[in-house]
C-alpha cells in the first residue's frame, strides 16, 4: 500500500516537472528579448535539478544527488555569467 502511494506520487511529480520543463523551454525559445531567454534557461536548470532528485528517490539511488548538485552549481554560474554579459556586453572587465 505504501509503495503504491509513493509510486503514484513520484510518477505524478516526474510528469509535473517534465511539463514545467517544457513550459520553461517554450519561454526560452520564444522569449521576446534576451533576458527572457536567460530566465527560461535558469528555470530549466532548477527544474532539471528537482527532476534528478525525484528520479533518485524513485530509484533508491543516493548518487543522483551528486548530479543534482552539479546541475545546481552549473546553473548558478551560467546565469550569473549570462546576466553579466547582458549588462555590460563583456564578461570579464
Amino acid at each position: 500500500m505504501t509503495a503504491e502511494i509513493l509510486r503514484f506520487a513520484l510518477g505524478y511529480a516526474q510528469i509535473a516537472l517534465i511539463l514545467a520543463l517544457a513550459l520553461a523551454c517554450w519561454r526560452m525559445l520564444l522569449g521576446p528579448r534576451a533576458q527572457d531567454r536567460v530566465l527560461g534557461l535558469d528555470t530549466m536548470y532548477s527544474i532539471a535539478m528537482l527532476l534528478f532528485l525525484v528520479i533518485g528517490m524513485g530509484n533508491g539511488n543516493v548518487f543522483f544527488f551528486e548530479g543534482a548538485l552539479v546541475i545546481a552549481v552549473l546553473g548558478f554560474v551560467t546565469t550569473v555569467i549570462a546576466a553579466k554579459f547582458l549588462m555590460r556586453g563583456e564578461v570579464i572587465e
Partner: protein, 130 residues
Amino acid sequence: MRHLEQLPPWAAIIVALFVVVGATLTLLGGVGLVRLKSFYQRLHAPTLGYSYGTLLIVLASMLMFSLTEGRAVVHELMIGVFIMITTPITMLMLGRAALRRDRDRKLGHDEDVPPRHHAVPPDDDPQGDA
C-alpha cells in the same frame, strides 16, 4: 523498487504529500513564466520552484533516505542551502541587466539599433563647461 516497501505508512504519506505539493508548485511557476505579460512579472514566477519546490522535495528526499537507510541522511541540505544563497544573486543580477538594457533601448543603443559613433571625441567639448 524494494526500498519503497520499507517505509512506514505515515512516512510514505508525508513524503508523497511533500513531493506532490512541491512538483505542483514548480509546475505553477512554469505556467506563470509562460503566461505573465512583462519581464519584471515573469521574474517572480519561477521563484516558486526555487523556494517551495526545492524546500519540499529536499525535505521529502531527506526523510525517505533517512528512514530507508536507518541513519540520518542530511547531505541534501547542501542543495537547499546552495539554492537559498544563490537564487537572490542570480535574480538580482538578471533584473539589473534587464533594467540597464531597457534604459539603453530607450536611449537608442540596443542590439536592434546599430551603435552610435561619436562624431566628436568625448573630451572635445565645444562649450568647454564640462
